[in-house]
């Protein structure tokens, strides 16, 4: 990856705090009726973990991430960072959404600089923008505007926009869902490398079992809406992982079975 060495001199803000999702339930109101989305979900993520959240579409994974990000408050239960309940968004917990949602009126550089600017840190930490751009290999495109980028490039910018803040928790909501399979595979590797290098805690929502298997140290499988935890599976394999690893293939069979798809495999 381009420029990875440029970052090596930076202090690495490794995660030190645990994330505790504590019996969380959540519901939306849909046409006047309550729509239960999360039902007593609880799990704890140790600092530096890489947890994949796997579940059928519409079960409540994004909702859970919004709660972790602090964009919404759960109806019941609490999400804690080292025993302190999350009350609102904080730049130590940054989300990469499924859509890159870059601001079309900002150049690539200014999009990446967004977090520093919002926190009033742009003056002192401007160099971090260039480093983050180098990290995702987009330095030559820093003056481009979002409409000039491909889907994969836009998603990389979104990743750089998150990394520039050196988050303790990187929250990824199907960030690779819309990419072609080649770009997807290479970005899976890049994200894992960044996680190893920087030591943040990663929370990855995906509906792609293979993606969860090659990336995460642990996979939490959710039921249909309202989501409950169906299984919590450690993935004890070294990186870089191989898709054909018999251990992973065995795990895939098991997870697909949990998702009710064993017949197709």
């Amino acid at each position: 990856m381009v420029g990875a060495t440029a970052y090596a001199h930076e202090p690495v803000a490794a995660a030190t705090r645990a994330l505790d999702v504590h019996s969380v339930s959540h519901a939306y109101t849909l046409e006047g009726n309550p729509l239960p989305v999360l039902d007593n979900v609880g799990f704890r993520v140790e600092p530096g973990g890489f947890v994949a959240l796997l579940g059928p579409s519409g079960c409540g994974k994004s909702t859970l991430l919004r709660l972790v990000a602090g964009l919404e408050q759960p109806v019941r239960g609490e999400i804690r960072v080292d025993d302190k309940a999350i009350a609102g968004p904080d730049p130590s917990r940054v989300v990469v959404f499924q859509d890159p949602t870059l601001y079309p009126w900002r150049s690539v550089y200014d999009n990446v600089a967004l977090g520093l600017e919002a926190q009033g840190l742009l003056k002192t930490r401007r160099h971090r923008v260039d480093e983050a751009l180098a990290l995702v290999g987009l330095t030559p495109f820093k003056k481009a505007y979002p409409h000039q980028l491909s889907g994969g490039m836009a998603q990389r910018v979104a990743l750089a926009r998150a990394l520039v803040n050196d988050p303790e928790f990187l929250i990824l909501d199907e960030p690779l869902g819309k990419l072609d399979s080649l770009t997807r595979i290479s970005m899976q590797g890049e994200i894992v490398r960044l996680w190893q290098q920087k030591g943040f805690t990663a929370l990855l929502v995906t509906h792609d079992v293979e993606e969860a298997l090659v990336m995460a140290t642990r996979i939490i499988v959710f039921s249909d809406r309202p989501a409950t935890i169906k299984a919590d599976i450690p993935v004890d394999r070294d990186y870089p992982r191989h898709r054909d690893d018999p251990g992973l293939v065995e795990l895939r069979r098991k997870i697909l079975g949990l998702l009710g798809l064993e017949a197709t495999w």
């Binding site: 964009l71 968004p89 601001y103 919002a118 926190q119």
Partner: protein
């Protein structure tokens, strides 16, 4: 003839190689250039040699101007042989030059020389030229006065409308109080306020600024509001997770995201404000192009009225073009949309 042969047989210039590869475009261009300059030469001849129905001044000057146009067209085509960029520009102008030449010729014949169009209501072209050459100080004075009034009213209206729109889009409390007022007053044509404004304000000038500001402000406020209201909520989520406060969300997210809408409102407001500008100048302000029109009508100076209309058209289209330029600059991140 030499012109055609130069273009068709010229060997040295790079344009000539173009002409050989694409002669179908060049030959009509030459014919068109000849026809266009012929139409202007004919206009010059008719202007100079036929007697006027009613005496208007500036006959030789207008004839000279027509000859000048004819010569410029030919010169432009010849210069275009060496400079392809200029040539392309000139070729684009040729059809319009021909059409205007024929129009001016017919106009001159019907109005100035044959008296088919009743006089003095339809002055000939040199009658208009006479206004421009003899009355230009008054016209310039009128343009400056109109621009001043328009600028002040538009600026006030745009700024106030913009902030009202932002506040409507952002604050529920503000919306609760202001939205009903806007719904009640907004659709009333600003001109309806004119009689009240003229006695409620200390001067007709300040009253007119108020009316133009009102006309401009309403569409700007509505469009800014809808722009702020339709900002993709995910933009706010992104900024909030990155540590943005409310001020940042308004100034760095909502407003830039709403700007394309704001410009639609500015264009609507600008268009509507011209009507109020001219009406206000005719009804009370003793300056500006509207006042000039009124004054010309009082003196039955028909040529002056047409001349003022032309100046007004140039001024208004100039202001619209200026706003387009500003928009293209501010929204340069977008791909180019409508051309004015």
């Amino acid at each position: 003839m030499t012109l055609i042969t130069t273009i068709l047989d010229g060997q040295e210039s790079e344009a000539s190689s173009l002409s050989r590869s694409n002669p179908a475009i060049k030959i009509p261009a030459v014919l068109l250039a000849l026809a266009a300059s012929a139409s202007w030469l004919a206009t010059a001849a008719v202007t100079y040699y036929m007697p006027d129905v009613i005496d208007f001044g500036r006959v030789p000057e207008f004839a000279a101007l027509s000859i000048l146009i004819a010569a410029a067209l030919i010169a432009g085509v010849i210069a275009g042989i060496r400079q392809p960029a200029l040539g392309a520009k000139v070729r684009r102008l040729l059809p319009w030059s021909l059409a205007l030449g024929i129009f001016t010729l017919i106009w001159q014949l019907l109005a100035g020389k044959l008296g088919v169009l009743p006089q003095p209501f339809f002055p000939p072209p040199h009658g208009l030229l006479e206004v421009f050459t003899d009355d230009y100080p008054k016209l310039i004075e009128g343009v400056l006065a109109s621009l001043r009034l328009e600028f002040l009213g538009f600026a006030f209206g745009a700024i106030i409308g913009f902030w009202v729109g932002v506040a409507l889009g952002w604050s529920r409390t503000f919306g609760y109080w202001v939205h009903p007022i806007m719904r009640f007053i907004g659709p009333v044509p600003s001109i309806a306020w004119l009689p009240i404004a003229f006695f409620a304000f200390p001067s007709s000038f300040s009253a007119s600024i108020f009316l133009i500001a009102l006309t401009t402000g309403f569409p700007v406020a509505v469009l800014t509001w809808s722009g702020v209201a339709s900002v993709n909520p995910a933009y706010y989520d992104v900024a909030r997770t990155l540590g943005a406060n409310e001020r940042f969300l308004i100034f760095k997210v909502a407003i830039p995201a709403a700007l394309p809408h704001v410009f639609v409102g500015l264009f609507m407001g600008l268009g509507a404000s011209f009507a109020v500008l001219v009406t206000a100048e005719m009804m009370g302000v003793k300056a500006g192009l509207g006042f000039y029109l009124q004054w010309a009508q009082g003196w039955a100076a028909y040529a002056n009225m047409y001349a003022a209309l032309i100046v007004m058209a140039v001024m208004c289209t100039g202001l619209v073009s200026l706003l387009f330029k500003i928009r293209d600059r501010v929204l340069s991140y977008q791909k180019g949309d409508v051309k004015w």
